[in-house]
Amino acid sequence: MSFFAHYNYHLAIILAMIGLYTMISRTNLVKKVAGLNIFQVSVFILFISLGVVEDGTVPILSEGYTAYSNPLPHVLILTAIVVGVATTALALALIVRINEAYGTVEEDQVQAKDEEP
Protein backbone atom coordinates (compact mmCIF):
# COMPACT_ATOMS: atom_id res chain seq x y z
CA MET A 1 0.00 0.00 0.00
CA SER A 2 2.15 2.83 -1.26
CA PHE A 3 1.41 6.50 -1.03
CA PHE A 4 0.39 6.61 -4.67
CA ALA A 5 -2.03 3.69 -4.46
CA HIS A 6 -4.61 6.05 -3.02
CA TYR A 7 -3.50 9.28 -4.59
CA ASN A 8 -7.11 10.35 -5.17
CA TYR A 9 -7.70 10.49 -1.42
CA HIS A 10 -4.49 12.39 -0.82
CA LEU A 11 -5.45 14.88 -3.50
CA ALA A 12 -8.88 15.36 -1.94
CA ILE A 13 -7.36 15.87 1.52
CA ILE A 14 -4.82 18.40 0.23
CA LEU A 15 -7.52 20.35 -1.61
CA ALA A 16 -9.82 20.26 1.41
CA MET A 17 -7.08 21.63 3.65
CA ILE A 18 -6.25 24.41 1.16
CA GLY A 19 -9.94 25.32 1.06
CA LEU A 20 -10.44 25.28 4.83
CA TYR A 21 -7.23 27.23 5.41
CA THR A 22 -8.27 29.88 2.89
CA MET A 23 -11.65 30.23 4.57
CA ILE A 24 -10.11 30.67 8.00
CA SER A 25 -7.09 32.80 7.17
CA ARG A 26 -8.43 35.29 4.60
CA THR A 27 -10.37 38.35 5.69
CA ASN A 28 -11.59 39.14 2.17
CA LEU A 29 -15.11 37.73 1.87
CA VAL A 30 -14.73 36.84 -1.83
CA LYS A 31 -11.60 34.82 -1.02
CA LYS A 32 -13.53 33.05 1.72
CA VAL A 33 -16.09 31.98 -0.86
CA ALA A 34 -13.26 30.83 -3.15
CA GLY A 35 -11.92 28.75 -0.25
CA LEU A 36 -15.37 27.32 0.32
CA ASN A 37 -15.52 26.33 -3.35
CA ILE A 38 -12.13 24.61 -3.22
CA PHE A 39 -13.28 22.72 -0.14
CA GLN A 40 -16.47 21.61 -1.85
CA VAL A 41 -14.61 20.57 -5.00
CA SER A 42 -12.32 18.36 -2.93
CA VAL A 43 -15.39 16.48 -1.74
CA PHE A 44 -16.69 16.22 -5.30
CA ILE A 45 -13.38 14.68 -6.37
CA LEU A 46 -13.54 12.25 -3.47
CA PHE A 47 -17.00 11.11 -4.57
CA ILE A 48 -16.21 10.94 -8.27
CA SER A 49 -13.04 8.94 -7.73
CA LEU A 50 -15.02 6.49 -5.61
CA GLY A 51 -17.02 5.52 -8.67
CA VAL A 52 -14.01 4.37 -10.66
CA VAL A 53 -13.79 0.64 -11.29
CA GLU A 54 -10.41 -0.67 -12.43
CA ASP A 55 -10.43 -1.34 -16.16
CA GLY A 56 -14.04 -0.20 -16.17
CA THR A 57 -15.53 1.81 -18.97
CA VAL A 58 -18.32 4.35 -19.18
CA PRO A 59 -21.56 2.85 -17.84
CA ILE A 60 -23.30 2.30 -21.19
CA LEU A 61 -24.16 -1.31 -21.93
CA SER A 62 -22.42 -2.57 -25.06
CA GLU A 63 -20.91 -5.79 -26.29
CA GLY A 64 -17.34 -6.65 -25.45
CA TYR A 65 -17.31 -4.89 -22.07
CA THR A 66 -18.02 -6.45 -18.72
CA ALA A 67 -16.63 -3.91 -16.25
CA TYR A 68 -18.34 -0.55 -15.89
CA SER A 69 -17.64 2.43 -13.65
CA ASN A 70 -20.24 3.14 -10.98
CA PRO A 71 -22.37 6.05 -12.21
CA LEU A 72 -24.20 6.68 -8.94
CA PRO A 73 -21.53 8.84 -7.22
CA HIS A 74 -21.34 10.92 -10.38
CA VAL A 75 -25.07 11.52 -10.33
CA LEU A 76 -24.94 12.42 -6.64
CA ILE A 77 -22.19 14.92 -7.33
CA LEU A 78 -24.18 16.43 -10.15
CA THR A 79 -26.74 17.32 -7.50
CA ALA A 80 -24.05 18.50 -5.10
CA ILE A 81 -22.53 20.72 -7.80
CA VAL A 82 -25.90 22.37 -8.36
CA VAL A 83 -26.18 22.94 -4.63
CA GLY A 84 -22.65 24.35 -4.63
CA VAL A 85 -23.45 26.74 -7.48
CA ALA A 86 -26.56 27.98 -5.65
CA THR A 87 -24.55 28.48 -2.47
CA THR A 88 -21.83 30.40 -4.31
CA ALA A 89 -24.39 32.58 -6.08
CA LEU A 90 -26.11 33.41 -2.81
CA ALA A 91 -22.80 34.10 -1.08
CA LEU A 92 -21.70 36.46 -3.86
CA ALA A 93 -25.10 38.21 -3.79
CA LEU A 94 -24.69 38.72 -0.06
CA ILE A 95 -21.18 40.12 -0.64
CA VAL A 96 -22.60 42.61 -3.15
CA ARG A 97 -25.12 43.76 -0.55
CA ILE A 98 -22.44 43.88 2.17
CA ASN A 99 -20.35 46.04 -0.14
CA GLU A 100 -23.35 48.38 -0.68
CA ALA A 101 -24.04 48.62 3.05
CA TYR A 102 -20.46 48.93 4.34
CA GLY A 103 -18.40 50.02 1.32
CA THR A 104 -15.91 47.20 1.87
CA VAL A 105 -15.65 43.41 1.59
CA GLU A 106 -12.86 43.00 4.15
CA GLU A 107 -14.14 41.22 7.24
CA ASP A 108 -12.03 43.18 9.73
CA GLN A 109 -13.13 46.53 8.25
CA VAL A 110 -16.78 45.43 8.32
CA GLN A 111 -16.41 44.52 11.99
CA ALA A 112 -14.69 47.81 12.73
CA LYS A 113 -17.57 49.71 11.11
CA ASP A 114 -20.13 47.83 13.19
CA GLU A 115 -18.32 48.66 16.39
CA GLU A 116 -18.39 52.39 15.68
CA PRO A 117 -21.24 54.03 17.58
Partner: protein
Protein backbone atom coordinates in the same frame (compact mmCIF):
# COMPACT_ATOMS: atom_id res chain seq x y z
CA UNK B 1 -50.00 11.87 1.25
CA UNK B 2 -46.44 11.37 2.47
CA UNK B 3 -44.66 12.97 -0.53
CA UNK B 4 -47.28 15.74 -0.76
CA UNK B 5 -46.18 17.19 2.54
CA UNK B 6 -42.84 18.04 0.88
CA UNK B 7 -44.00 18.62 -2.67
CA UNK B 8 -46.82 21.05 -1.86
CA UNK B 9 -44.66 23.65 -0.06
CA UNK B 10 -41.94 23.23 -2.70
CA UNK B 11 -44.29 23.90 -5.62
CA UNK B 12 -46.08 26.46 -3.46
CA UNK B 13 -42.81 28.37 -3.23
CA UNK B 14 -42.63 28.62 -7.01
CA UNK B 15 -46.22 29.88 -7.10
CA UNK B 16 -45.54 32.41 -4.33
CA UNK B 17 -42.61 33.84 -6.29
CA UNK B 18 -44.91 34.49 -9.25
CA UNK B 19 -47.69 36.22 -7.28
CA UNK B 20 -47.90 40.03 -7.27
CA UNK B 21 -46.32 41.81 -4.31
CA UNK B 22 -48.61 42.59 -1.40
CA UNK B 23 -50.83 40.46 0.77
CA UNK B 24 -51.43 37.68 -1.75
CA UNK B 25 -48.12 35.76 -1.28
CA UNK B 26 -48.69 35.81 2.48
CA UNK B 27 -52.25 34.45 2.20
CA UNK B 28 -51.02 31.75 -0.17
CA UNK B 29 -48.15 30.73 2.12
CA UNK B 30 -50.54 30.62 5.08
CA UNK B 31 -52.92 28.37 3.16
CA UNK B 32 -50.02 26.04 2.27
CA UNK B 33 -48.89 25.90 5.90
CA UNK B 34 -52.40 24.97 7.03
CA UNK B 35 -52.50 22.22 4.45
CA UNK B 36 -49.18 20.97 5.87
CA UNK B 37 -50.60 20.91 9.38
CA UNK B 38 -53.65 18.98 8.24
CA UNK B 39 -51.50 16.50 6.31
CA UNK B 40 -48.94 16.14 9.10
CA UNK B 41 -51.65 15.48 11.69
CA UNK B 42 -53.19 12.78 9.50
CA UNK B 43 -49.80 11.20 8.79
CA UNK B 44 -48.76 11.26 12.44
CA UNK B 45 -51.98 9.48 13.41
CA UNK B 46 -51.38 6.86 10.70
CA UNK B 47 -47.75 6.41 11.72
CA UNK B 48 -48.83 5.82 15.32
CA UNK B 49 -51.35 3.21 14.16
CA UNK B 50 -49.21 1.39 11.62
CA UNK B 51 -45.76 1.95 13.10
CA UNK B 52 -44.03 2.85 9.83
CA UNK B 53 -45.30 4.57 6.69
CA UNK B 54 -43.20 4.11 3.58
CA UNK B 55 -43.40 5.75 0.17
CA UNK B 56 -41.20 4.84 -2.79
CA UNK B 57 -40.24 7.80 -4.95
CA UNK B 58 -41.11 7.04 -8.57
CA UNK B 59 -42.08 3.49 -7.61
CA UNK B 60 -38.45 2.38 -7.25
CA UNK B 61 -38.13 -0.08 -4.40
CA UNK B 62 -35.61 0.75 -1.67
CA UNK B 63 -32.67 0.45 -1.21
CA UNK B 64 -32.23 1.47 -4.86
CA UNK B 65 -34.91 4.14 -4.98
CA UNK B 66 -35.38 7.00 -2.58
CA UNK B 67 -37.68 6.07 0.25
CA UNK B 68 -39.78 8.41 2.35
CA UNK B 69 -40.30 6.84 5.69
CA UNK B 70 -42.38 8.03 8.60
CA UNK B 71 -42.11 6.44 12.04
CA UNK B 72 -43.04 7.85 15.45
CA UNK B 73 -39.73 9.76 15.75
CA UNK B 74 -40.09 11.82 12.62
CA UNK B 75 -43.89 11.93 12.84
CA UNK B 76 -43.39 14.00 16.01
CA UNK B 77 -40.97 16.25 14.14
CA UNK B 78 -43.16 16.65 11.05
CA UNK B 79 -46.09 17.54 13.29
CA UNK B 80 -43.92 20.07 15.13
CA UNK B 81 -42.72 21.79 11.94
CA UNK B 82 -46.22 21.94 10.48
CA UNK B 83 -47.74 23.19 13.74
CA UNK B 84 -45.20 25.98 14.16
CA UNK B 85 -45.51 26.94 10.49
CA UNK B 86 -49.31 27.08 10.72
CA UNK B 87 -49.15 29.33 13.79
CA UNK B 88 -46.24 31.57 12.75
CA UNK B 89 -47.28 32.22 9.13
CA UNK B 90 -50.54 34.05 9.98
CA UNK B 91 -48.42 36.15 12.34
CA UNK B 92 -45.74 36.70 9.70
CA UNK B 93 -48.00 38.82 7.47
CA UNK B 94 -48.36 41.95 9.63
CA UNK B 95 -45.03 41.42 11.38
CA UNK B 96 -42.93 41.08 8.22
CA UNK B 97 -44.88 43.87 6.50
CA UNK B 98 -43.39 46.22 9.08
CA UNK B 99 -39.84 44.89 8.64
CA UNK B 100 -39.41 43.98 4.96
CA UNK B 101 -40.21 46.21 1.93
CA UNK B 102 -43.45 45.23 0.21
CA UNK B 103 -41.84 44.61 -3.20
CA UNK B 104 -39.87 41.72 -1.71
CA UNK B 105 -42.92 39.81 -0.41
CA UNK B 106 -43.21 37.24 -3.25
CA UNK B 107 -39.59 36.14 -2.80
CA UNK B 108 -39.82 36.35 0.96
CA UNK B 109 -42.72 33.89 1.10
CA UNK B 110 -41.14 31.72 -1.60
CA UNK B 111 -38.06 31.44 0.64
CA UNK B 112 -40.22 30.71 3.69
CA UNK B 113 -42.04 27.91 1.86
CA UNK B 114 -38.76 26.48 0.54
CA UNK B 115 -37.45 26.53 4.08
CA UNK B 116 -40.49 24.55 5.22
CA UNK B 117 -40.17 22.14 2.29
CA UNK B 118 -36.54 21.49 3.18
CA UNK B 119 -37.27 20.97 6.87
CA UNK B 120 -40.15 18.65 6.08
CA UNK B 121 -38.01 16.79 3.55
CA UNK B 122 -35.26 16.14 6.07
CA UNK B 123 -37.76 14.82 8.54
CA UNK B 124 -39.54 12.37 6.25
CA UNK B 125 -36.76 11.07 4.00
CA UNK B 126 -35.16 7.69 4.56
CA UNK B 127 -32.21 8.36 2.28
CA UNK B 128 -28.90 9.71 3.57
CA UNK B 129 -28.03 11.75 0.48
CA UNK B 130 -31.54 13.14 0.30
CA UNK B 131 -30.98 14.53 3.80
CA UNK B 132 -28.03 16.53 2.47
CA UNK B 133 -30.06 17.93 -0.43
CA UNK B 134 -32.96 19.01 1.77
CA UNK B 135 -30.54 20.33 4.38
CA UNK B 136 -29.08 22.63 1.73
CA UNK B 137 -32.50 23.64 0.39
CA UNK B 138 -33.67 24.76 3.81
CA UNK B 139 -30.29 26.31 4.66
CA UNK B 140 -30.12 28.36 1.46
CA UNK B 141 -33.65 29.63 2.16
CA UNK B 142 -32.59 30.48 5.72
CA UNK B 143 -29.56 32.49 4.58
CA UNK B 144 -31.85 34.52 2.31
CA UNK B 145 -34.39 35.09 5.07
CA UNK B 146 -31.76 36.22 7.58
CA UNK B 147 -30.31 38.60 5.00
CA UNK B 148 -33.71 40.35 4.82
CA UNK B 149 -33.30 41.78 8.32
CA UNK B 150 -33.47 45.57 8.67
CA UNK B 151 -30.06 46.00 10.31
CA UNK B 152 -27.07 45.78 7.94
CA UNK B 153 -25.49 43.36 10.39
CA UNK B 154 -28.11 40.88 9.16
CA UNK B 155 -26.01 40.59 6.00
CA UNK B 156 -22.80 39.68 7.79
CA UNK B 157 -24.72 37.35 10.11
CA UNK B 158 -26.20 35.61 7.08
CA UNK B 159 -22.79 35.40 5.40
CA UNK B 160 -21.03 33.83 8.36
CA UNK B 161 -23.91 31.38 8.78
CA UNK B 162 -23.59 30.54 5.09
CA UNK B 163 -19.87 29.77 5.44
CA UNK B 164 -20.26 27.68 8.60
CA UNK B 165 -23.48 26.03 7.48
CA UNK B 166 -21.97 24.97 4.15
CA UNK B 167 -18.88 23.58 5.86
CA UNK B 168 -21.20 21.62 8.17
CA UNK B 169 -23.26 20.28 5.27
CA UNK B 170 -20.13 19.38 3.31
CA UNK B 171 -18.73 17.51 6.31
CA UNK B 172 -21.99 15.61 6.39
CA UNK B 173 -21.59 14.89 2.66
CA UNK B 174 -18.05 13.52 3.22
CA UNK B 175 -19.42 11.18 5.86
CA UNK B 176 -22.21 9.97 3.60
CA UNK B 177 -19.70 9.44 0.77
CA UNK B 178 -17.43 7.32 2.95
CA UNK B 179 -20.40 5.23 4.06
CA UNK B 180 -21.43 4.74 0.44
CA UNK B 181 -17.89 3.74 -0.51
CA UNK B 182 -17.96 1.03 2.11
CA UNK B 183 -21.52 -0.28 1.93
CA UNK B 184 -22.72 0.71 -1.54
CA UNK B 185 -26.03 2.00 -0.25
CA UNK B 186 -27.59 5.31 0.78
CA UNK B 187 -30.84 4.04 2.24
CA UNK B 188 -30.81 4.55 6.01
CA UNK B 189 -32.43 1.23 6.88
CA UNK B 190 -30.11 -0.59 4.50
CA UNK B 191 -27.09 1.27 5.91
CA UNK B 192 -28.14 0.25 9.40
CA UNK B 193 -28.23 -3.38 8.30
CA UNK B 194 -24.82 -3.28 6.57
CA UNK B 195 -22.74 -1.15 8.93
CA UNK B 196 -22.34 -3.72 11.77
CA UNK B 197 -20.42 -6.02 9.41
CA UNK B 198 -17.83 -3.34 8.66
CA UNK B 199 -18.02 -1.40 11.93
CA UNK B 200 -14.41 -2.17 12.84
CA UNK B 201 -12.95 -0.28 9.87
CA UNK B 202 -11.43 3.15 10.12
CA UNK B 203 -13.63 4.32 7.25
CA UNK B 204 -16.78 3.92 9.32
CA UNK B 205 -15.17 5.65 12.27
CA UNK B 206 -14.16 8.57 10.04
CA UNK B 207 -17.59 8.74 8.44
CA UNK B 208 -19.21 8.82 11.87
CA UNK B 209 -16.92 11.64 13.01
CA UNK B 210 -17.60 13.73 9.90
CA UNK B 211 -21.36 13.26 10.11
CA UNK B 212 -21.58 14.05 13.83
CA UNK B 213 -19.38 17.16 13.56
CA UNK B 214 -21.21 18.37 10.45
CA UNK B 215 -24.63 17.97 12.02
CA UNK B 216 -23.45 19.51 15.30
CA UNK B 217 -22.45 22.62 13.33
CA UNK B 218 -26.00 22.79 12.01
CA UNK B 219 -27.62 22.28 15.39
CA UNK B 220 -25.29 24.83 17.02
CA UNK B 221 -23.83 22.59 19.72
CA UNK B 222 -21.36 24.55 21.85
CA UNK B 223 -18.63 25.44 20.68
CA UNK B 224 -19.97 25.28 17.10
CA UNK B 225 -22.76 27.77 17.88
CA UNK B 226 -20.98 30.98 16.88
CA UNK B 227 -23.23 31.63 13.87
CA UNK B 228 -26.45 31.39 15.86
CA UNK B 229 -26.66 34.49 18.11
CA UNK B 230 -26.15 36.99 15.27
CA UNK B 231 -28.38 35.08 12.88
CA UNK B 232 -31.26 35.00 15.38
CA UNK B 233 -30.74 38.60 16.49
CA UNK B 234 -30.77 40.27 13.08
CA UNK B 235 -33.26 38.10 11.18
CA UNK B 236 -36.84 39.47 10.88
CA UNK B 237 -38.90 38.61 13.99
CA UNK B 238 -41.22 36.04 12.42
CA UNK B 239 -38.26 34.34 10.71
CA UNK B 240 -36.40 34.12 14.03
CA UNK B 241 -39.43 32.55 15.67
CA UNK B 242 -39.77 29.94 12.94
CA UNK B 243 -36.03 29.23 12.78
CA UNK B 244 -35.55 29.02 16.52
CA UNK B 245 -38.51 26.69 16.77
CA UNK B 246 -37.71 24.33 13.91
CA UNK B 247 -34.28 24.65 12.22
CA UNK B 248 -32.05 23.46 15.05
CA UNK B 249 -34.66 20.85 16.03
CA UNK B 250 -34.46 19.25 12.63
CA UNK B 251 -30.67 19.07 12.94
CA UNK B 252 -31.13 17.42 16.35
CA UNK B 253 -33.38 14.88 14.69
CA UNK B 254 -30.72 14.15 12.04
CA UNK B 255 -28.19 13.58 14.82
CA UNK B 256 -30.57 11.20 16.61
CA UNK B 257 -31.38 9.40 13.38
CA UNK B 258 -27.75 8.83 12.47
CA UNK B 259 -26.55 7.92 15.95
CA UNK B 260 -29.44 5.63 16.84
CA UNK B 261 -30.76 4.27 13.54
CA UNK B 262 -27.96 4.35 10.97
CA UNK B 263 -24.90 3.65 13.11
CA UNK B 264 -26.79 2.10 15.98
CA UNK B 265 -26.30 2.95 19.64
CA UNK B 266 -24.03 -0.06 20.17
CA UNK B 267 -21.52 1.36 17.67
CA UNK B 268 -22.02 5.04 18.51
CA UNK B 269 -21.68 4.62 22.26
CA UNK B 270 -19.65 1.42 22.42
CA UNK B 271 -16.98 1.75 19.71
CA UNK B 272 -16.95 5.54 19.51
CA UNK B 273 -16.55 7.96 22.45
CA UNK B 274 -19.79 9.78 21.53
CA UNK B 275 -21.10 10.12 25.07
CA UNK B 276 -17.75 11.40 26.34
CA UNK B 277 -17.87 14.07 23.67
CA UNK B 278 -21.53 15.10 23.64
CA UNK B 279 -22.21 15.18 27.37
CA UNK B 280 -19.33 17.48 28.45
CA UNK B 281 -19.92 19.82 25.50
CA UNK B 282 -23.64 19.93 26.28
CA UNK B 283 -22.94 20.71 29.94
CA UNK B 284 -20.34 23.40 29.21
CA UNK B 285 -22.56 24.92 26.55
CA UNK B 286 -25.62 24.83 28.75
CA UNK B 287 -23.92 26.66 31.62
CA UNK B 288 -21.69 29.09 29.72
CA UNK B 289 -24.29 30.33 27.24
CA UNK B 290 -26.85 30.73 30.04
CA UNK B 291 -24.36 32.97 31.84
CA UNK B 292 -23.66 34.91 28.63
CA UNK B 293 -27.42 35.33 28.10
CA UNK B 294 -27.70 37.16 31.43
CA UNK B 295 -25.44 39.96 30.23
CA UNK B 296 -27.16 40.73 26.92
CA UNK B 297 -28.69 44.15 26.28
CA UNK B 298 -30.75 42.99 23.32
CA UNK B 299 -33.46 40.60 24.51
CA UNK B 300 -33.61 38.84 21.15
CA UNK B 301 -29.89 38.08 21.48
CA UNK B 302 -30.46 36.95 25.06
CA UNK B 303 -33.03 34.42 23.88
CA UNK B 304 -30.67 33.32 21.09
CA UNK B 305 -28.01 32.43 23.68
CA UNK B 306 -30.70 30.75 25.72
CA UNK B 307 -31.51 28.64 22.63
CA UNK B 308 -27.92 27.38 22.54
CA UNK B 309 -28.27 26.49 26.21
CA UNK B 310 -31.52 24.63 25.58
CA UNK B 311 -29.86 22.69 22.76
CA UNK B 312 -27.45 21.57 25.48
CA UNK B 313 -30.37 19.87 27.29
CA UNK B 314 -31.37 18.01 24.14
CA UNK B 315 -27.84 16.86 23.34
CA UNK B 316 -27.46 15.83 26.98
CA UNK B 317 -30.50 13.58 26.60
CA UNK B 318 -29.08 12.10 23.39
CA UNK B 319 -25.68 11.53 25.02
CA UNK B 320 -27.22 9.57 27.90
CA UNK B 321 -27.85 6.68 25.49
CA UNK B 322 -30.86 5.39 27.41
CA UNK B 323 -34.49 5.16 26.35
CA UNK B 324 -35.46 7.61 29.09
CA UNK B 325 -32.75 10.10 28.11
CA UNK B 326 -33.78 9.96 24.48
CA UNK B 327 -37.45 10.39 25.45
CA UNK B 328 -36.47 13.52 27.37
CA UNK B 329 -34.44 14.83 24.40
CA UNK B 330 -37.29 14.29 21.93
CA UNK B 331 -39.79 15.82 24.36
CA UNK B 332 -37.55 18.83 24.78
CA UNK B 333 -37.26 19.19 21.01
CA UNK B 334 -41.04 19.54 20.82
CA UNK B 335 -41.49 21.55 23.99
CA UNK B 336 -38.63 23.94 23.41
CA UNK B 337 -40.07 24.77 19.99
CA UNK B 338 -43.33 25.75 21.70
CA UNK B 339 -41.72 27.92 24.38
CA UNK B 340 -39.10 29.62 22.17
CA UNK B 341 -41.73 30.12 19.48
CA UNK B 342 -44.00 31.89 21.99
CA UNK B 343 -41.15 34.01 23.38
CA UNK B 344 -39.87 35.12 19.98
CA UNK B 345 -43.42 35.90 18.82
CA UNK B 346 -43.92 38.07 21.92
CA UNK B 347 -40.64 39.84 21.11
CA UNK B 348 -41.90 40.29 17.55
CA UNK B 349 -44.95 42.15 18.96
CA UNK B 350 -42.59 44.49 20.83
CA UNK B 351 -40.44 45.01 17.72
CA UNK B 352 -43.63 45.73 15.77
CA UNK B 353 -44.66 48.54 18.11
CA UNK B 354 -41.32 49.92 19.28
CA UNK B 355 -38.99 48.97 16.44
CA UNK B 356 -36.39 47.39 18.70
CA UNK B 357 -36.00 44.70 21.36
CA UNK B 358 -33.29 46.42 23.40
CA UNK B 359 -33.81 46.17 27.15
CA UNK B 360 -33.80 49.98 27.19
CA UNK B 361 -37.36 50.10 25.76
CA UNK B 362 -38.74 47.64 28.31
CA UNK B 363 -39.38 49.92 31.34
CA UNK B 364 -43.10 50.09 32.03
CA UNK B 365 -43.88 47.71 29.20
CA UNK B 366 -45.90 45.54 31.59
CA UNK B 367 -48.53 48.29 31.63
CA UNK B 368 -48.02 49.55 28.09
CA UNK B 369 -48.32 46.17 26.39
CA UNK B 370 -49.99 44.00 29.05
CA UNK B 371 -50.96 41.07 26.81
CA UNK B 372 -47.61 40.88 25.06
CA UNK B 373 -45.66 40.99 28.31
CA UNK B 374 -47.99 38.44 29.89
CA UNK B 375 -47.24 36.13 26.97
CA UNK B 376 -43.52 36.77 27.47
CA UNK B 377 -43.78 35.93 31.17
CA UNK B 378 -45.75 32.76 30.44
CA UNK B 379 -43.17 31.67 27.84
CA UNK B 380 -40.42 32.55 30.30
CA UNK B 381 -42.01 30.40 33.01
CA UNK B 382 -42.09 27.55 30.55
CA UNK B 383 -38.43 28.13 29.66
CA UNK B 384 -37.50 28.02 33.34
CA UNK B 385 -39.47 24.82 33.79
CA UNK B 386 -42.26 25.77 36.18
CA UNK B 387 -44.80 22.96 36.81
CA UNK B 388 -47.89 22.95 34.53
CA UNK B 389 -45.76 24.16 31.60
CA UNK B 390 -44.09 22.05 28.92
CA UNK B 391 -40.66 23.14 30.15
CA UNK B 392 -41.29 21.29 33.39
CA UNK B 393 -42.29 18.09 31.60
CA UNK B 394 -39.13 17.79 29.55
CA UNK B 395 -36.77 18.86 32.33
CA UNK B 396 -38.47 16.47 34.71
CA UNK B 397 -37.87 13.60 32.30
CA UNK B 398 -34.27 14.69 31.82
CA UNK B 399 -33.72 14.71 35.58
CA UNK B 400 -35.34 11.28 35.86
CA UNK B 401 -33.05 9.97 33.12
CA UNK B 402 -29.99 11.38 34.89
CA UNK B 403 -31.08 9.85 38.20
CA UNK B 404 -31.64 6.51 36.52
CA UNK B 405 -27.99 6.56 35.41
CA UNK B 406 -26.86 7.86 38.80
CA UNK B 407 -25.40 11.00 37.19
CA UNK B 408 -25.99 13.29 40.16
CA UNK B 409 -23.69 16.10 38.93
CA UNK B 410 -25.82 16.25 35.76
CA UNK B 411 -28.95 16.64 37.89
CA UNK B 412 -27.25 19.57 39.58
CA UNK B 413 -26.30 21.04 36.19
CA UNK B 414 -29.91 20.86 34.98
CA UNK B 415 -31.10 22.64 38.13
CA UNK B 416 -28.38 25.30 37.90
CA UNK B 417 -29.30 25.83 34.25
CA UNK B 418 -32.89 26.46 35.29
CA UNK B 419 -31.77 28.88 37.99
CA UNK B 420 -29.75 30.81 35.42
CA UNK B 421 -32.87 30.91 33.23
CA UNK B 422 -34.78 32.43 36.16
CA UNK B 423 -32.14 35.16 36.37
CA UNK B 424 -32.24 36.18 32.73
CA UNK B 425 -36.03 36.02 32.46
CA UNK B 426 -36.43 37.90 35.75
CA UNK B 427 -34.17 40.70 34.48
CA UNK B 428 -36.70 41.40 31.74
CA UNK B 429 -39.73 40.98 33.99
CA UNK B 430 -38.26 43.32 36.60
CA UNK B 431 -37.59 46.07 34.08
CA UNK B 432 -40.95 45.66 32.37
CA UNK B 433 -43.13 45.58 35.48
CA UNK B 434 -41.27 47.37 38.25
CA UNK B 435 -39.60 50.27 36.46
CA UNK B 436 -41.71 53.28 35.47
CA UNK B 437 -42.17 54.05 31.79
CA UNK B 438 -40.87 57.24 30.24
CA UNK B 439 -43.84 57.32 27.88
CA UNK B 440 -46.76 55.70 29.70
CA UNK B 441 -49.05 55.53 26.64
CA UNK B 442 -50.61 52.14 25.92
CA UNK B 443 -49.32 50.58 22.73
CA UNK B 444 -50.60 47.00 22.75
CA UNK B 445 -49.83 44.95 19.65
CA UNK B 446 -52.71 44.29 17.21
CA UNK B 447 -54.82 41.16 17.59
CA UNK B 448 -53.39 39.67 14.39
CA UNK B 449 -50.08 39.34 16.26
CA UNK B 450 -51.44 38.60 19.72
CA UNK B 451 -53.66 35.69 18.71
CA UNK B 452 -50.87 33.48 17.24
CA UNK B 453 -48.62 34.39 20.19
CA UNK B 454 -51.28 33.34 22.66
CA UNK B 455 -52.07 30.18 20.73
CA UNK B 456 -48.45 29.10 21.28
CA UNK B 457 -48.58 30.20 24.91
CA UNK B 458 -51.78 28.19 25.30
CA UNK B 459 -50.09 25.13 23.78
CA UNK B 460 -47.28 25.54 26.32
CA UNK B 461 -49.82 24.96 29.06
CA UNK B 462 -51.95 22.47 27.15
CA UNK B 463 -49.05 20.09 26.53
CA UNK B 464 -47.76 20.86 30.01
CA UNK B 465 -50.96 19.52 31.57
CA UNK B 466 -52.17 16.96 29.04
CA UNK B 467 -48.95 15.14 28.20
CA UNK B 468 -50.47 11.96 26.77
CA UNK B 469 -49.84 12.84 23.11
CA UNK B 470 -46.31 14.17 23.37
CA UNK B 471 -44.98 11.68 25.91
CA UNK B 472 -46.78 8.88 24.12
CA UNK B 473 -45.11 9.62 20.78
CA UNK B 474 -41.73 10.41 22.35
CA UNK B 475 -41.68 7.19 24.38
CA UNK B 476 -42.59 5.06 21.40
CA UNK B 477 -40.00 6.79 19.25
CA UNK B 478 -37.31 6.37 21.91
CA UNK B 479 -38.21 2.71 22.44
CA UNK B 480 -37.97 2.12 18.71
CA UNK B 481 -34.66 3.97 18.35
CA UNK B 482 -32.93 2.34 21.30
CA UNK B 483 -33.67 -1.24 20.25
CA UNK B 484 -30.44 -3.19 20.60
CA UNK B 485 -29.02 -0.71 23.06
CA UNK B 486 -29.03 -3.12 25.97
CA UNK B 487 -27.77 -6.06 23.94
CA UNK B 488 -24.77 -4.54 22.20
CA UNK B 489 -23.39 -1.79 24.39
CA UNK B 490 -20.66 -2.81 26.82
Amino acid sequence: MLPLIVVVPMLGAAVAALLPAGRLPWLWATAVSWFMLWAAAGLAAQAMDLGVLSYWMGGWAPPFGIEYRLDPANALLALLIALLAAVVLPYAGPSLASEVPERKTPYLYAALLLFLAGQMGISVTGDAFNVFVFLEISSLATYTLIGLGRDRRALTASFSYLIMGTVGATFFLIGVGLLYALTGTLNMADLAARIPAVAETRTVHTAFAFIVVGVCLKLALFPLHLWLPNAYTYAPSAVTALMAATATKVAIYVLVRFIYTVFGPAFAFGDMPTAHLLVPLAVIGLLSTSVVAIGQGDIKRMLAYSSVAQIGYMVLGIGMATALGLTAALLHVFNHALMKGALFLALGCIAYRLGTTQLAVFPGLGRRMPWTMAAFVAGGLSLIGVPLTVGFISKWHLVLAAIELGWWPIVAVIIVGSLLAIIYIWRVVEVAYLQPAEDPGRCEAPLALLVPTWILVGLNFWFGIDTRVTIGIAERAAAMLTVGLNGGAP
